[in-house]
Symmetry: C2
DNA sequence: TTGAAAGCGCTAACAC
DNA sequence: GTGTTAGCGCTTTCAA
């Protein structure tokens, strides 16, 4: 920048003003400076700019595992939205370890990110909650719900898992299934809501709670083990609901191993659309949602917090806008993986 | 840091030395400083540190579309490796637009990233090549090959698509297929290599080149359209090779629409393993590779360049290590999606 | 071994 | 409208 100023024969501050679009600059000055900038191919140093301006135009995104299609779609939506407003995204994987969540959040703070997008590994990790309580920047939780002050101070985008699952289980019940087996992941909001949706459907029909639920990790191994459990029970499940694509993978592996026909011997519903659910034969019914929009809305919530910031008495920036929680819909899509039970339950 | 120094009653420079592990610090000093750091919960500002040290411990990753499983697995591998050496990853999507590639690379430069991990949208975009020619930091290309000086100055991790495809097509030929239809993406290295592998297999058996190839974009739409083309040809293909998971999606959609049985009416091979290829009935043969290792090796190449840097005469850092190119294997996995043609070709 | 001082590249008062 | 100056938070000579 020094060079640009010299070449243009003006002060550095003038160059700075031109480049940052300050209103009080004469056209002549703008001309000279821009000419010098072009001839030198000058690019401002965002690092120095950030240090001085006290904002980095960067956002930290903590995700469990970016290789999971669900999460990478969220990341895409978020990155695209952030980029459209000139923010960059720092991405890190927590490997579903709360301890990594905290260390990454700490690192992002040291990098002075302007905000945090969090898809946490746990909703009740004390370390994480304590750390988040001390975080100064806006936070947006993605499909997570935190208790206490932290939960109240953070924005969030949530999916309405409950209503989609209510429809899904309702569909199975209406087909005649009574022993429905549900495979869930970690005890977080999405699991609780799905379970509630399941209960809703039974209750709405005045049916006894003859379902079975197996909780575990959102991993294929658990999907497979849970499927075994549910199929080997005294009263085997006639329909399975997999609470995520990883669980579906495990469930399908077990189903195939046993030579069961999906839709024939066993009905199946999964959560979140992936190419497998659409192209499997028979196609697999899903509770789906717009995952990309989930990421996009999360970024938008964060941006709206960032863009409504004012300098507080202590010199720190504080958002003037209250945190928001957005609930995005889910939709049950019936497909041939759901059919009446092979041996119909007594009506 | 000022506060820490005051509390400990020492100079800021001493605090700095303690924190950055300078050898010449007395144990007493270390004690005092660390006590102050702990009591204040001080966290160094990485931004200021970066500005001064002239390194950011950050790497820019430009990817076409992170929601693509292939690319998100690469990203996971890369991020994990970078993180293990304390680097952070800035991620951006080019949406397969060369123009976005360049603008993102430019942005990353302004953010003073220490290096670039690039999965470019095109291998021959003049703007991109010109820009890369001016980039000072180490670059690692991911499954891309650039011509000229730029290509020589950059490191790269490449997959050996050719040999895996040679085996795949060889398998189809040995089953009796002669009209093999190949669906490829953009004209980049991975497409060229796959085509070469195809040719290799025909030539190795002394067969006439009775294959058909359709090039296009790595998108489901192209996969579908190409499948139509290949199946509606005067001499319809009896086996299809899809050069990527997006193409497979489109191809399968068309195959199902036509009511064709994979493995029965039509043999099928895809590239890169996804849950669909493993769990489809029948399972789909693939040319697979360790995508996570691809990302990991890319990050490792970059790190080895970064860690062997020295200050040049002009004050800039230059790596003393020559760029490396690593070739990673692919492996053909035969599966029931490949079977003898319905109407066997004349032997 | 430690401290004082300069400065990374930029912006924001403040003065002219 | 433009220039001068101070300083963001840190590291790194240099001198003591």
């Amino acid at each position: 920048m020094r060079e640009v100023a010299d070449l243009a024969g003006v002060a550095m501050s003038s160059v700075s003003r031109v480049l940052s679009g300050h209103p009080d600059v004469s056209p002549a000055m703008r001309q000279r400076v821009m000419a010098a900038v072009d001839s030198l191919g000058y690019q401002p140093d965002l690092l120095a700019q950030s240090l001085r301006r006290r904002e980095t135009l960067s956002v930290g995104f903590v995700v469990g595992d970016i290789s999971n299609p669900l999460q990478s779609q969220i990341a895409l939506g978020a990155e695209t939205a952030l980029r459209s407003r000139n923010y960059s995204m720092l991405l890190t994987n927590s490997e579903n370890e709360p301890a990594l969540d905290t260390s990454h959040i700490r690192l992002f703070q040291q990098r002075r990110v302007d905000g945090l997008l969090l898809s946490l590994a746990a909703e009740d990790d004390p370390q994480t909650l304590a750390l988040l309580g001390a975080v100064e920047t806006p936070i947006v939780l993605i499909d997570r719900e935190l208790r206490g002050d932290v939960g109240r101070r953070a924005s969030a985008v949530l999916s309405d898992h409950r209503s989609g699952m209510r429809d899904a289980v309702g569909h199975l019940l209406d087909l005649g299934h009574r022993r429905i087996g549900m495979i869930l992941g970690q005890p977080m909001r999405f699991s609780r809501e799905r379970l509630e949706g399941l209960k809703d459907a039974y209750e709405a029909r005045g049916l006894a709670p003859t379902y079975a639920v197996v909780e575990g990790q959102l991993e294929p191994r658990h999907g497979r083990a849970a499927t075994q459990t549910l199929l080997d029970a005294a009263e085997p499940a006639t329909a399975l609901v997999a609470g995520g694509n990883q669980l579906l993978n495990g469930a399908l592996a077990e189903i195939q191993q046993r030579g069961l026909r999906v839709g024939g011997d066993l009905s199946l519903v999964s959560c979140d659309e992936i190419s497998l659910t659409q192209l499997y034969q028979p196609p697999i019914a899903v509770v789906r949602r717009d995952t990309r929009a989930l990421g996009r809305r999360a970024a938008e919530l964060l941006l709206s917090q960032l863009e409504s910031q004012e300098e507080g008495d202590d010199g720190r920036m504080r958002s003037t806008r209250a945190p928001e929680t957005v609930l995005l819909p889910t939709e049950f899509v019936a497909r041939p993986s759901c059919a009446p039970p092979a041996a119909p339950a007594a009506a």
